[in-house]
Symmetry: D2
Subunit: 349 residues, 4 copies
C-alpha cells in the first residue's frame, strides 16, 4: 500500500513500449526528430489552438523555464505559499529567472484568490523599491488536491492582464485537474487566460517528461535558447517525443488521470467511513488530505501503508496536537485492491 506519491509508480506500459518502438535506426537529434514534431502537433489538437510546446525532463525545470519567460530577475510572481515553486524546488525558480521573487500567499485549500493577489499588489506602489509584479502562478490541481475551475482561473487573468502581468499554470497534475473538472484542456488554459502551462506527464504515467506549452506565442520566442542553456535540450530527443505521443494517444493521459481520481474518491470514502477522520478540503483530483488521530496514523504506518505526515504552515490552529494532517496520493497504477485493503485497515481502528 503505497500512497506516498504518484511518482513512486513506474511508467505506463504503452509509454514504455513507445520507447522501444522508436529505438531503431537513426533520427535527427536535439529536437529535430519526427516524434518531437508530432508531439507538438498532438498538443495543438488537444488544446484546439495554435501553441508552441517544448519538451523537458522535469517539472522543476518546466516551471523554472516557463517562469523565466514571464519575469526578469527584478520581477515578482505570486502563488500559493505551499506551491511547488515556492517551497519544493530549492530556489530553482530563482535560478532560472535570475533572481525573481516568488511571493507565497496563504490561501484557502491550497489555492489563492484574485482578491489576495489584488491586495498584495497594493503593496507594490513604490516603483523600483519593490520588485515589479510580473505574473501569477496557479498550481492546478493544487498541492492540496483541490482544483481551480476555468472561471476561477479566468478571474486571475481578468485581474492581472490589464496590469501587464502573465498567468502561468503549474500543471504537474494538469490531467487530474481536467479529469476532475470534466472540462476541456482549452477551457482550463487559453480560454481562461493562461499564457504558459507546465504540462506534466511524469506523475501520470511517463518516465521523465513535461512540456512547457505556450499559448502566448510571444513568450515562446526565445524559449529554445532558454531550454538549451538550462541543460534541457536532449540530444536523443526522440525518446521524449515518443513518450508524449503515447501519453496523449487515444486519451491515455485522461484515462490515467480519471482512474487515479476515482481511486482518490474511494480512498476518501474509506477514510471517513468510521467518523474518526475528517477531510477539510474537497477531493477534486488524485490526492486526499485527511486529519486523523495520531494513534490511527501510527497504526496505519505500522501496518506498512506508506503516506506522509503533511505539515503545511497554513493549517495553523485547524489541527490539534494529537492529530496528523496526512497526505495520500493515488496513481494511475495504484492497485485497486490496495485501496480496498487500506479502507479495511482504517475501519479496524
Amino acid at each position: 500500500m503505497n500512497f506516498a506519491s504518484d511518482n513512486v509508480y513506474g511508467v505506463h506500459p504503452k509509454i514504455l513500449a513507445a520507447l522501444a518502438d522508436v529505438n531503431g535506426g537513426t533520427a535527427p537529434s536535439y529536437g529535430g526528430d519526427d516524434q518531437t514534431k508530432r508531439a507538438e502537433e498532438m498538443l495543438k489538437e488537444i488544446f484546439g489552438c495554435e501553441l508552441r510546446a517544448f519538451l523537458v525532463t522535469s517539472g522543476t525545470a518546466a516551471n523554472g523555464l516557463a517562469l523565466s519567460t514571464i519575469t526578469p530577475g527584478f520581477g515578482a510572481i505570486f502563488c500559493n505559499a505551499e506551491a511547488h515553486i515556492a517551497v519544493d524546488e530549492c530556489n530553482s525558480p530563482e535560478f532560472f529567472t535570475g533572481g525573481a521573487k516568488i511571493i507565497g500567499l496563504n490561501g484557502p485549500g491550497g489555492k489563492i484568490t484574485p482578491r489576495q493577489v489584488e491586495k498584495a499588489l497594493k503593496g507594490f506602489i513604490r516603483g523600483e523599491h519593490d520588485p515589479k509584479p510580473k505574473g501569477v502562478s496557479l498550481t492546478n490541481a493544487t498541492e492540496l488536491g483541490t482544483v481551480y475551475s476555468p472561471s476561477e482561473v479566468k478571474a486571475f487573468s481578468d485581474l492581472i492582464r490589464p496590469r501587464g502581468m502573465k498567468l502561468h499554470m503549474d500543471g504537474a497534475r494538469f490531467a487530474n485537474a481536467v479529469a476532475g473538472l470534466g472540462c476541456t484542456p482549452a477551457e482550463l488554459t487559453w480560454k481562461s487566460g493562461v499564457d504558459v502551462l507546465s504540462f506534466g506527464a511524469t506523475k501520470n504515467g511517463a518516465m521523465m517528461l513535461e512540456a512547457v506549452v505556450f499559448f502566448d506565442l510571444g513568450l515562446a520566442e526565445d524559449f529554445a535558447y532558454r531550454r538549451m542553456r538550462g541543460g534541457q535540450l536532449l540530444s536523443k530527443s526522440r525518446y521524449l517525443g515518443a513518450q508524449m505521443i503515447a501519453y496523449l494517444e487515444d486519451g491515455l493521459w485522461l484515462e490515467n488521470a480519471r482512474r487515479a481520481n476515482a481511486l482518490a474518491q474511494r480512498l476518501a470514502k474509506g477514510l471517513t467511513a468510521g467518523g474518526k477522520v475528517r477531510i477539510p478540503n474537497p477531493v477534486e483530483a488524485n490526492e486526499v488530505f485527511a486529519v486523523m488521530p495520531k494513534t490511527m496514523f501510527d497504526r496505519l504506518q505500522a501496518s506498512g501503508a506508506k503516506f506522509y505526515d503533511w505539515m503545511p504552515d497554513s493549517l495553523g490552529d485547524a489541527i490539534r496536537p494529537d492529530e496528523i494532517f496526512a497526505r495520500f496520493v493515488l496513481s494511475f497504477a495504484t492497485p485497486e485492491e490496495e485501496v480496498g485493503a487500506f479502507a479495511r485497515l482504517v475501519a479496524e481502528g
Copy 2:
C-alpha cells in the same frame, strides 16, 4: 550512412531492456531508489576509489553543474576554444556558474597544453580586475577526435593544483578515450589529478544519462542542492539508475566504445586510401576529421551519406578554399557494412 553524430543512433538493447526490467512496482523517488544507489557503487568499482556520483539527463547540465562546483561567478575556467562548454552550450556554463568566464585557448588538435594555460595565467596578475582563475576543463576525447593521455592530464593537474585551481574533465566521450588509450578509468582521472568528471553515457548507448563524478569529495558536498536547483533531480530516478547499471554491467560501455573506435579507424583508412583526403590529427577515438576536396564532399553528400562540414576557427590557413574539413562520427550502433559501403563510395571518386 549516417556519420553525422553519435547521438543520431538509439539506445543499446540492453539498456532499453533495463528500463523495462525496473518498471514494475513502486520505488522511492528523487534518487532514493536502489538503482541509483547501485549505479554509484558500480562507478566506485570501475574507478577503484571512493567517489560521489550524481546522475543527470544531459551533458550540458553535467558540465554546467560540475563547473559550478569549481568556480564562483567571478572565476575563470580555461579550456580549448572548440570545447563544448565554450561554443556549443548556449552560455549554459555561464548560467550554472553564475557568470564565470569560459576562456577558450586555441590549442593543437582540439587539445590545449599546460604551457598555454601557464601563459594565459600570466595575464591574471591584477587581482580583482580579472576574474579569478579557478579551473581547467579538458574534453576527453576531444572535439576533434584526439585524446589526452593520463600523463598529459597529469601535467595540467601538476600546474594548477598548487595554484588552488581544479581540474574538470568533460567526458561526453570518456568511454571512447579510455578505449582508445587502453588505460584504466582510474589512470585517466583521479590518478592523473582530475577532480570532477562529466561521465557521458548518452552518446555511447544510453537514452539520456550522464553522471557527474567527484573524485574530490569536498566539491560534492552541496551538489545535491545544485542538481535539484538545476532541475536535474528526476522524480522517477530509477530509470536513470537502471540505464547506468546496464551501461556499466559486463563492460558494455567499453565494448560499445571499442566498436565505435574501431569503425573510426576503418573509416579513416577508407577515406585516405585514394590519396585525395588527408587527416590532420590522429584518429584516437570515434571521430574522424578529414580534409577533402569540396567536389568530393559534394559528391558524397549527394549520395546520401550524412556528415558535417566542420568549421573550427583554429584551422585557419591550414585549409584551402576548395577544401572541406569534414567530421565523421562513429557510434556503437553504426552498421559495419555502411562503413564499408562508404569506403567504396570514396574510392569511386
Copy 3:
C-alpha cells in the same frame, strides 16, 4: 519639518570638508590610496579586533555583497519580514547571491527571535528539496526603530553557529543602535557572534558610503572580486576613504547618532504628550513609529510636516481603520527647533 527619512538630509560639514582635503594631486586608484587603507585601520581600532573592511557606495550593495559571502544561490537567509533585504531592495539580495531565498519572519517590534528561526529551521529537513539554511540577517537598529542588544544578538549566533550558518547584521543604522544601547561596537558585533556587518554611514552623515566589515576573515577571502564584479570598486576610491575617516574621527559617527536618537526621544514625548497618540514599540534609536488618529495625521501633513504613513503587514489588527501608523525619522542634521515646533503642532490638535 522633514521627518521623512534620515537620507533627506545632506552631508556632515566635516565629511564634506574631507572630500576637499584629499582632492589635490594624484593618488593610486581602485582602493590603493592611503585614505582607503587608513579607513580600514580606523575600523580595526573602533571594533578592537582584526577585521577586513571594504567600502561601497550604497547600503543595498553592501547587504547584497555581504550576503553573497554567506549563502550560495541554493541557500536561504532568515530575517524579519520587514527587513530592508526582504522588501526594500528590489531583489538585490537575490541578484548578488545568485538566487538565494530571503525568508521573512513576522517578528515582534521589527525584530525576530531565535525561537522563530529555530522553528523555521524545522521546516528544512528534506535535504535538497528545500534551500540550504545558510544564515540569519539582523537589522540593527531595526526597521521599526528598536534595537537588538548584544545578548539578543548572541542568542542567534549560539543557535546557528553549530548548524554551520553565519550571522549578518544590516547596520544601515548601526551607529544609532550602538548609541542607543550604550555598548561598544565590539560587543554588538564580533563579541556577540556577528560574522559580517553592513556598516552604514550614509544615513548618519556621509554622502554615499557603507562598509562591508568582516569579522569572519574567511568570508572576506574573495570579497575584492565580488565588489569589483558588482560594480562597487571606485576608481577614485580616495573619496570613499576620506568620508570614512572623517565619519569615524573623534567619534563623529556616534556623536551624530546620539543627537538623532535624542531628537527621536524628544519627538516621541511631544507626540504622546496629548494622550491621543500611542507608540507601540520602544524608541531605541532615531525613528519613532506612532499610531495616531487619521484626522491628526491629515492635519499634521497639511501643516507641511513630512513623514510617512507606514504600512507593515505585521501590524495586522493592532490598528483601527481610523488610525495611521506613522513613521518619523530623525537625523544628525534635523534642526532641533523643528522638533519643538512639531510638538507644538501636535499639541494644538
Copy 4:
C-alpha cells in the same frame, strides 16, 4: 609625472564646489531630487534629442547595467578583445546580464570592424546551440586611444539593426572622443545608431559618476528596477546630480577633454622627437601608446615617471623582446609642465 591613468587625478574644482553648493537643507532621496532631474534635462539639451539618463557611481556598473538591457543571459555581445567589458571588469557584464557571452574580436588599433562582426555572425547559424547575437559594444575613445568616427559607428548600426541587435557605446572617455573628433555628441551617438551609451564623467573630472543614457527609449523601460537591484540607486542622489550638472555646465566636460587630448598630442610629440620611439596607432584622444626600447622604459620609470607597460595580446609579433608597449594617459588635471619635463627626460636618453 603621473601618466598612469586619468583616474589618479582628483575632482575638478567646479564639480567639488557643486557638492558643497547642494549640501544645505533637505532633498527628496532616491533620484527624486532637483539635481537629478536637471542633470537629465541637460543631457537632453547636449544630445539634442529625447532620451532617458540614469546616474550611477562606476563605469563598470554603467556598462553592466546598460548591457543587461540589450541582452538576456542566453545572448552574445561582440566587442574588441581589449575592451573594458571583456577584460577589465571581473565578469561584471556576465553578472549584470545573467551570463551573456562577451565575445572579444581582435581588431586593429583597439577597434573592431563591421566586417569582423559580420564574419563572426556567420558562426551563429545553429540556433540555440549558440548564444543569440544581441548587440555590439564599441568603446569610444578606445582602450588604445583611438576613436570611432560617426560614420564608422553608423556602419555597425547599419549592419546589426536589421538583425535585431542593439548598439552600445562604452563612453568612459566619451568626452575625449567627441573632443578629438570635433563632432557633436548627437552625431557620435543616436545619429549614428547608438542605442545606449555609458556616458563617463569620473575619468574626466567627476568624483564617481557615470550616466547610462538611452536613445532607444524602449530599452529604458525597466531600467529603474535594474539600477535599484544592482545597488546603484543612491539615497542621497542629489550629489550625483550636482556632479553631472557641474560637469556639463558651460561645456566643462569638453573643455577638460580638449585639454587632456592636447596634452596627449604634446606628449606624443615629445616621445617621438628623438626617433627611438614609435607610436603605432594615431593619438586621437587622451592616451598615447608607444613602443620604446626597454632600456628607455626602465630609465624613465627610474626617474619617477609613472606609466604602464601595456600588454595587449593583439600586438603579437609587432613588438620585439627588447621593446615595451607603454601607455600614457593624460588628464584634465595633468600639469602642463610635467608633460614638458617628461619630453626633456625622453630627449636625454
